[in-house]
Symmetry: C2
Subunit: 140 residues, 2 copies
DNA sequence: AAATAAATGCAACTTGATTGCAAACAATAT
DNA sequence: ATATTGTTTGCAATCAAGTTGCATTTATTT
């Protein structure tokens, strides 16, 4: 993925591309999983945590990234696919590995939808499976 | 539900029934939904929050209650059904109302299970639907 | 180049969760 | 009954993560 592609990703969502924003976006794409603010702070020690926080808030507000509640207590974030509008039909399954503590986006697996009782209406769905990831299953 | 039933619920899980533990258990059953530590603190102003915390930790460790991550950032807890062993087949769907901020246990709706990629194994599943509950849908 | 606006870093604050310790309480042994 | 021991609880302090205020830097516009 070249520089131009990252720039476009930001501009497509109406985000002015600064050096730090590009850096954070690249890092998130490189890590290729749902990361917490702390994950990013550890990865980008030169960037202040308030900047990371505000950048993530901005990204989230512009639907460049989506939030995942993986049950660790802290919300995690992952880059949305190119044309994601974050509707329910777009939402995929997430997997949290209890061993390596990484949260994976299983992009090819849609969130399942169940029939709700009368009167309940859906706005979003959080579906997280916890267990052992492929890597941790074999390295034991 | 009489006093005896609450006592049994505790003893069945190997928890010594003190007055405060009974009070917290009764409150959780009365509220009949997944509650946060803060919810309990507000409900039980006479009980210290550290006591509530330690009681909930104890209940959870003894599988008297289960944790639900409803995406509000703070873990919530609800009383397990009588014979629950907290296995996956026991786990039900939860619903978080964006309006009244209550988290419901939809006990009759099992969590759906999807096929995972090779090598991934499941330990537990967190499935939370967010939207409007029946009450909030009508009172608008 | 000056003026204005936006982005960033630093430090402080907030909130909720957690822990240390002493007092209260319960259970047991003498 | 009383002493002894262990458990439970409340209070206060701590901790960690998220968040905000403000000054500084950087970018944009005039």
């Amino acid at each position: 993925m070249d520089q131009q592609a990252y720039l476009e990703k930001l501009e497509k969502r109406g985000i002015k591309p600064t050096a730090i924003r590009l850096l954070i976006l690249k890092t998130m794409i490189r890590l290729d999983r749902a990361v917490s603010l702390l994950d990013l702070e550890n990865e980008l020690v030169t960037v202040d945590k308030s900047t990371i926080f505000r950048t993530i808030t901005l990204f989230h507000g512009h639907h460049l990234i989506h939030g995942v509640d993986d049950g660790t207590g802290s919300l995690k974030y992952a880059v949305c696919s190119h044309d994601c509008d974050c509707s329910i039909s777009e939402q995929h399954t997430h997997f949290y590995c209890e061993q390596c503590h990484r949260t994976f986006c299983l992009k090819s697996i849609h969130v399942p939808i169940v029939q709700l009782p009368d009167g309940f209406s859906v706005q979003s769905i959080n579906y997280v499976i916890k267990g052992l990831c492929a890597e941790c299953s074999t390295h034991e």
